[in-house]
Amino acid sequence: MEKLNVYSARLVPKNENFGQGHRACQGCAEALAIRLAGKAVGKSVVAVSATGCMEVVSTPFPYTSWNVPWIHVAFENAAAVASGAESGLKALMRKGRIPQRKIFVLALAGDGGTSDIGVQAISGALERGHDFLYICTDNEAYMNTGIQRSSATPWGASTTTSPAGKVIPGQTTWKKNMAAIAAAHDIPYVATACPSYPFDLMEKVKKGSRTPGPAYIHVLAVCPTGWRSAPDLGIRLGRLAVETGIFPLYEVIDGKYKLSVDPPQLRPVEDYFRLQGRFRHLTKDMIEKIQERVAREYEKLKMQERMTGGE
């Protein structure tokens, strides 16, 4: 099941936490990721969203796409609000004020809400050891406000605040490794996932939510609007990100690294770039520079796997 490489609709749980009628763009993989995560986590959940695309598209008053209890307070504090929900439920159950039962707490935020403005709140929540699952759906820029760069935007990508200019060719910094930052908190469960691998994603959400203590899943979410890619290519792009080694899928369970998908040979990064307008300006030299870095980072990950005995 874990390694299932094909999508079989009949094997997917029927329940929908994140229901129909939301207003996400066509081909939005972030909405898909959240829908799949909702199926995996089940009905007994309190969801906390940060400000961002998913909050905006799912709750235009008086409508809501959420079939489970859901709260949004602000941009940078999903992890802190989730900490409060978890602590409140814990206290109320202990004091016998509500019946004892497992209620999962799920925090959801984008890459800006996680690795930029929310990094303090998430670090605090992970360090304090709250029993919750934090899912970052990373579409690699501030898409909700109009495709501005974040610390999760990859090197070279053109965004509205890192445009491919005549002197500076797009984003000048390497993507912040948020999963590694989460793992550095020594929490019991960290994983990367992508809705192009739906069963892998659901399995990880199930594991993460059921692991006692904090869990973090970093999900690559293709954004056709921001990446300037065709809306029907979201699944293929997600797979290419994994197959090129640009976004490797792995788990860190109690400190042990384990690659979830490890192709015998990585595809050239160009296969991934070719389908996206945000990388259209990249020169051969720039692509080579990225290729080298990807190979190095991938090797580092495999070394971590060997060193921690997670193989």
Binding site: F61, S83, G84, G88, L89, G124
Partner: protein, 391 residues
């Protein structure tokens, strides 16, 4: 009746939080609020209070945690000061708009820069329009009582609003005072368990904090304004019921020796007790001076204030904050506008004093009254003045 004991006011505040049997406490240390959180964590770690103590990494997260815990139906508490308050202020606004009755004790302290750990009201005035019910305590007894009253009022299903109990940093928070405690049985009679109608519960899913388009935003804000105004009867009822149980009755505006007073000093917070001395001294000399102490800042007690101020010739308002380049102190400017449409209204003189705990002694109040009277005799409309500037 309750026991009368000598204790530090911060500890009295913590005692009240324990008696209120809160479920979640989230706070970040900042001078001069620290003694409250220290004492509360002792309660929790010694098993004297069954609550989750969440030692957050910032005040912003303190208020965020309280929002989350309150939303699942847990009684929540935080306390802060100064920079901590303005760091959390983004979420302070959210909590009120989401109708989550979190209770916060504010040990009022100046805002930077220059950094100052001492007391004035510049911190709370920065969030004047946050939509919380706001009390000002004068002494330890006020603080202790108002923590309990806040939970009773804020959680009332007719109110559902968060409440701030303001107390002056150091000059109230760190002072050892006689405080009459209330026993658990009486507290339980006064304060029922928190049972909100709407919580985050998988059995009854709700969406909280949705996005609202311009077509509904104005209505949401109108509803919020009405909610704050409509809390007044419950606030009055809360004081009445608390008084009936403890013998201590409170009012939106506390009057001191106002009978026949032509001039009224107006204060808010701890300096009110010093002003009482000054009024006594002036009364001894036959001067018709009285004192109004503002206990309730939001909702603003228009009716009570107009009634209390109507017979005076002049108000001498002592503010503890300043609106730079604006109308002077925030209290005076609100009092002025409250009086503007009155057919007969007193003159309003405004002194900004006691910034960063600069001492305001009885003779200072007398001096302020003298100066205001002097200006008045010369036919000058009194303006605001930053009092006691060394030149």
């Amino acid at each position: 009746m309750g026991k009368r004991v000598g204790m530090e006011v911060s500890i009295a505040a913590s005692e009240a939080v324990r008696l209120a049997n809160v479920d979640v406490i989230a706070a970040y240390p900042i001078t001069p609020q620290t003694h409250i959180v220290e004492h509360l964590s002792e309660f929790v770690n010694n098993g004297e209070l069954d609550a989750e103590f969440v030692p957050v990494e910032s005040e912003h997260s303190a208020m965020s945690v309280c929002s989350g815990s309150q939303a699942v139906g847990a009684r929540s508490f935080t306390c802060t000061s100064s920079q901590g308050l303005i760091l959390m202020s983004e979420i302070v606004y959210c909590t009120a708009a989401m109708r989550l009755p979190v209770i916060m004790v504010l040990a009022n302290r100046s805002l930077s820069n220059p950094i100052s750990i001492w007391n004035d009201h510049t911190d709370v005035m920065s969030i004047r329009d946050c939509g919380w019910i706001q009390y000002f305590a004068e002494n330890g007894q006020d603080v202790f009582d108002h923590v309990l009253i806040s939970y009773r009022v804020g959680e009332d299903r007719d109110v559902m609003l968060p409440v701030i109990v303001n107390m002056d940093g150091f000059s109230v928070s760190h002072v050892i005072e006689p405080v009459e405690l209330v026993d658990q049985e009486t507290v339980d009679k006064f304060l029922p368990p928190y049972k909100p109608d709407i919580v985050l519960d998988p059995a009854h899913p709700v969406t909280m904090g949705a996005i609202v388009l311009p077509s509904c935003y104005t209505e949401a804000k109108k509803a919020q304004d009405e909610a704050v105004k409509a809390s007044m009867p419950t606030i009055l009822k809360g004081w009445q019921e608390f008084g009936d149980l403890t013998g201590r009755y409170y009012h939106p505006i506390e009057e001191y020796r106002t009978e026949g007073a032509e001039v009224l000093l107006v204060t808010m917070g701890g300096i009110g007790e010093t002003a009482m001395w000054a009024v006594d001294q002036m009364r001894e000399k036959g001067r018709p001076v009285g004192l109004l102490k503002m206990r309730l800042w939001r909702p603003f007690p228009f009716e009570e204030f107009r009634k209390a101020a109507s017979k005076a010739r002049m108000l001498v308002v002592v503010d503890r904050a300043i609106s730079y380049g604006g109308p002077g102190g925030p209290v005076a400017s609100e009092l002025r506008s409250a009086l503007y449409n009155e057919p007969k209204r007193p003159l309003v003189a405004n002194f900004i004093a006691g910034l960063a705990s600069r001492d305001v002694a009885p003779f200072d109040f007398i001096e302020m009254v003298d100066r205001a009277e002097g200006a008045c005799k010369k036919g000058m409309e009194p303006e605001y003045e930053i009092y006691g500037v060394r030149e």
